[in-house]
């Protein structure tokens, strides 16, 4: 996936679109990740100042949600669901196999709502049901 290169000005431009939102810390972090692929370490201070929150608050939100990344992602973003229904049909093994093959591209996912078609994975935003290493490999760029 293509992302913009992070700069303080670009990050502030993203935040400016959320000026009117109340309690927009999570929304802001998501918007930054969408723009740059991850949340830059200086974003914590920027978001805190922008929404008049403490840096500790922003850090708390950032580290609570596993979907928020603090390192630049690879070319692909792969999530393997490891919630209950998918675990029951072998997602832990799938996750191991996918991690062995694609390493840092792989993240834990927690339920895509596609439980009847598990194990489930998400590759660059597309949901893959009855997922396998081969199927994921096909969808990767």
């Amino acid at each position: 996936m293509k992302y913009s290169t992070w700069s303080q000005e670009a990050a502030l431009a993203v935040l400016a679109t959320l000026r009117e939102e109340k309690g927009a810390v999570l929304m802001a972090l998501q918007a930054l990740q969408k723009e740059f692929g991850y949340v830059h370490k200086e974003d914590v201070t920027l978001v805190a100042n922008f929404f008049n929150n403490s840096r500790a608050d922003v850090h708390g939100v950032l580290t609570f949600y596993h979907d928020l990344l603090t390192e630049p992602p690879g070319d692909n973003h792969i999530s393997v669901c490891v919630a209950e229904a998918c675990q029951a049909v072998g997602s832990r093994q799938l996750e191991k196999d996918v991690k062995a093959k694609f390493g840092k591209e792989v993240h834990d996912g927690y339920c895509f709502g596609n439980c009847a078609l598990g194990p489930c994975a998400m590759v660059n935003g597309a949901i893959i049901g009855r997922a396998s290493v081969e199927k994921i490999e096909k969808v990767r760029v």
Binding site: N114, A116, L117, I127, R130
Partner: protein
Amino acid sequence: MKIYVPGDSAAISVGADAVAAAIASKVAGSTIIRNGSRGALWLEPMVEVETDKGRVAYGPVSVEDIDSLITADFMHGGAHKLSLGESEKIEWLASQDRVTFKRVGIIDPLSLADYEAHGGLVGLRRAISMSTEAIVEEV
């Protein structure tokens, strides 16, 4: 000829988009309708065709199955290893009494005419014909 390939996210997650595209390119004169899933997700992508005896289903269909389905003349309900028979008679579906999901899977969700043909807008039309007081009274 009408061919139904569900277009909801569950069906898409198991390849319904690719199946729809393959059918559209290989079956001349086909109209693909992206209906909702009837909910039997283990049969997705569940492809249905309209025949003289009603809708006939096949599933789970993958792109690799399309050529053999065409050879089996699935467009007219021909027998194939993925045949599920008449959709309405699939036991899991036939045993259900649907209320809110009554039209899901049956109609083209983007067609207002199809919605109306299956009893849509009846309540709204009745409300329009009533006086304001009568509506308040009934509510």
